[in-house]
Amino acid sequence: MTHSPHTAPQATSRGRRNWPARLAAMALMAATQLTWAVNDLPGGPSVLQTDLPPPATKIAAAQQDLHVMMLWICGVIFVGVFGVMFYSVFAHRKSKGAKPASFHESTTVEIIWTVIPFLIVIGMALPATKVVVAQKDTTNADLTIKATGYQWKWGYDYLNGPGQGISVISTLDASQRALSDAGTPQGDNYLLKVDEPLVVPVGKKVRIITTANDVIHSFMVPAFGIKQDAIPGFVRDTWFRAEKTGDFYGQCAELCGKEHAYMPIHVRVLPEDEYLAWADARLKAQAAKADDPNKVWELDALVARGQKVYDANCAACHQASGKGGGAIKALDASPVVLDADKTKQIMVLLNGQNNIMPAWRQLSDTEIAAVITFTKNQWSNKTGQIVQPADVLAARK
């Protein structure tokens, strides 16, 4: 493993100094106020929610039924066992003159209380089996979407069905991360707000194929009753059929590095006609926006484009300052970035490096060219070099 010779990441300054005062202020808050200025988020979490969310699919409803059944079973056993125990605790006390009995075994009793739990377990397993089988049946989907976990965003590719060909990258809204850093959260959809949601039609069977680009992530939408790990190098699948329209939220559920808490999932369920209209418009817009990899760019335009790509993809690790930190290498004054041989940096972006830097093949040729050009001309890097999309296209082969 390579690692840059930096010190341990320190709690970065903003908002984290003067913590004794903060602690006092927070204690005061706790004493005066136990609820925040926040409302339930339909399709997402509710304030003081104590149960599974309202189900939006049959599977989620079945899971909730199982959970209610389990609470009843456990509740009855709880009352039975601890009723006996606490009766004994109060009645069979030495201080009340209780004399100890001397029995210490009874084969009959022991067989009974082994067999009964065994039967209860079978009674629990049968309904659960049905739901497991239903959950795993991903056949006959109306729409197939590949969800790819990236550090730290989701990519959605519509592979099959209406909307085939749509590609969406869904990132946490930048304002949310800043609010988190500042310690000033606000809004009912705090940390759940994304730039572009996953859009699906209501009442259709949607198969989600998961995979990942770097480490394991997990695609979770509680209202749909789905959670499927997204595993690099492998594909897995799950499915849902939303019964109602609206917005539904989830978050990445497998530890995936420092921004684990900042890659939410937002699914928008539309009526079928609206979905078809959206898909049509999205495909047209996508075609219009597509860059011609053979276009020759001016330096300034490419740097400006690269700045956007950098902010959206690179700044989370390499920092806006390009200084990196910890195991993350600095781009500012980096020998690879400054190198006159442009292919070196192109290869790092296409293939990743040392398992720390992920591969960024999913970006377009123009985006990769732009961001490399940007880093070659930003901070103290004033190389004047320009990488054209055609260079990237050539390197891909």
């Binding site: 929610q49 104590t50 599974l52 599977i59 492998f234 799950t238 195991a327 720390i356």
Partner: protein, 539 residues
């Protein structure tokens, strides 16, 4: 422990001339009682360190938004809290109890391999230093979670290698400790102490030691493969080279699930000794307790993938692991029924050890119920990797293992130290811990059902209220352990308190109560002659 720490002041001393004094007594220790003391003090130190890390987590989660730590440091806190508590606090604490009590309970003069015993303790010190110092290494401490899932481990800095090295050392220590315990129990029992007359604590440790010998090498394999993936170009788990990250999880949990029982079976043993002592009535169903322990241990090898329902196993895999997991609840339930039946029509008193034992049964069983709920794969789809799981395993590891450890400490401390712990101290510690524990962890069930993922440095605002309650509870729970340190432990080690009689608990039975309090440096140097029940020395 005072009598162990200062010597010479007691009439029935101690062969003080034939063992080293001062620091040499501890560094060169070969006496099982000294090594037991070292283990217990070490594990309590690690408990406090792990607790400070936990309070760092809870301070950050007190409110939404980032206040104290950044997400990098937050992940380091959760990771190291888990590793330190599992490998540094809970496991060594049970080994410490085993060292102190097993030779006393089976009438042996010491552990079978006295020098290896010394080595297995002192190996833990460099490992602990490596773990704690990893926070100051470049890139900070490991931050991939205590489960160290690939390929996230490939992204970690050099502290990951330090962590792997430390876990190897701890593993070696555990294996040596286990072999020592197995050999001691099988070879060094006093004549008449047949296997089926052994105290439950000895039985549970015998089974636990076999589990450790079976699975620690599996962990060693998993982390060695991680190491070679990181440095030597192998691709066991690295998908970029054709490796399989899910294989890591299978290997890890093949270790990890028996590990859960390694941390709870000795707890069952402690509780199975304390409940009869304070109910003044023999343990109900001793034989079935032994068989239930063995069944739990065997079943623990075939349930590992219930930690992995969300990875997307085939339907038959999910069903198999769901059924097998549910099955484990049967022998576990039998144990609870046996404890309750032991209490039934007893003549109970509630001194501190009994309070912790009854508290254990009550709160651990709640962890058992949530375990049953987690075992159901469709429900697990909702709660896997959420705070529900965090609540569940703290109910079994804190309210289970830690409560049983405290029960054992209060039960046997008079034998160790020669002084009684005043009841009011133990009662404050117990009730304070019981209440704050539930304030901390009960709301986490709600957070998990509502969908709050674990290992999150920041969370949507709807989760704020229960997080605040949990954080307040956590600081209270931490405070109760500081109370234990200053008000219970240190005065006891200084020898303050009423002198303890040889058998301080009226209903207690077993060979440990056949030697004076504090236990002399050497006990049972010649094999004692036992009565028919193997609980009394008759010559």
């Amino acid at each position: 422990m005072s009598a162990v720490l200062d010597h010479g002041g007691h009439a029935h001393d101690d062969h003080a001339h034939d063992h080293p004094h001062g620091w040499r007594r501890w560094v060169y220790a070969t006496n099982h009682k000294d090594i037991g003391t070292l283990y217990l003090l070490f594990s309590f130190t690690m408990l406090l360190i792990g607790g400070v890390l936990a309070l760092g987590i809870r301070a950050e989660l007190f409110q939404p938004g980032l206040q104290f730590v950044n997400p990098e440091l937050f992940n380091q806190l959760t990771t190291m809290h888990g590793i330190i508590m599992v490998f540094g606090a809970i496991m060594p604490a049970f080994v410490g109890m085993a060292n102190w009590m097993i030779p006393l309970q089976i009438g042996a003069s010491d552990m079978a391999f006295a020098r290896m015993n010394n080595f297995s303790f002192w190996l833990m010190i460099p490992a602990a230093l490596l773990l704690v110092s990893s926070f100051f290494m470049p890139g900070g401490a490991p931050a991939a979670g205590w489960t160290l899932y690939a390929p996230l481990t490939l992204q970690m800095g050099p502290s990951m290698d330090a962590g792997i090295f430390a876990m190897h050392i701890l593993g070696a220590s555990s294996i040596m400790g286990s072999i020592n315990i197995v050999v001691t129990i099988l070879n060094m029992r006093a004549p008449g102490m047949t296997l089926m007359k052994m105290p439950m604590f000895v039985w549970t440790w015998l089974i636990t030691a076999y589990l450790l010998i079976a699975v620690i090498p599996v962990l060693a394999g998993a982390i060695t493969m991680t190491l070679t993936d990181r440095h030597f170009g192998t691709s066991f788990f690295n998908p970029a080279g054709g490796g399989d990250p899910i294989m890591y999880q299978h290997i890890f949990w093949f270790f990890g699930h028996p590990e859960v029982y390694i941390m709870i079976l000795p707890a069952f043993g402690i509780v199975s000794q304390i409940v009869p002592a304070f109910a003044r009535k023999p343990l109900f169903g001793y034989h079935s307790m032994v068989y239930a322990t063995a069944s739990i241990a065997i079943l623990s090898f075939i349930v590992w993938a219930h930690h992995m329902f969300a990875t997307g196993m085939p339907v038959t895999g999910q069903l198999f692991f769901m059924y097998a997991t549910m099955l484990i609840s049967v022998p576990t339930g039998v144990k609870v029924f046996n404890w309750v039946a032991t209490m039934w029509k007893g003549s109970m008193t509630f001194e501190t050890p009994m309070l912790w034992a009854v508290g254990f049964i009550f709160v651990f069983t709640m962890g058992g119920f949530t375990g049953l709920i987690c075992s159901m794969a469709p429900i697990d789809t909702q709660i896997q990797d959420t705070y529900y799981v965090v609540a569940h395993f703290h109910y079994v590891l804190v309210a289970g293992s830690l409560y049983a450890l405290y029960a054992g400490v209060y039960y046997w401390a008079p034998k160790w130290s020669g002084v009684m712990i005043p009841e009011w101290k133990g009662k404050i510690h117990f009730w304070g811990s019981l209440i704050t524990f539930n304030v901390t962890f009960f709301p986490m069930h709600f957070l998990g059902l509502a969908g709050m993922p674990r290992r999150y440095a920041d969370y949507p605002m709807q989760f704020a209220d229960f997080n605040m309650v949990a954080s307040i509870g956590a600081f209270g729970f931490g405070l109760m352990q500081v109370f234990f340190l200053f008000v219970v432990l240190i005065p006891m080690m200084r020898g303050k308190g009423e002198p303890a009689p040889q058998k301080p608990w009226e209903g207690a039975e077993g060979l440990e109560w056949e030697v004076p309090s504090p236990a002399p440096f050497h006990t049972y140097e010649t094999p004692p002659k036992l009565d028919a029940t193997a609980t009394r020395v008759i010559g």
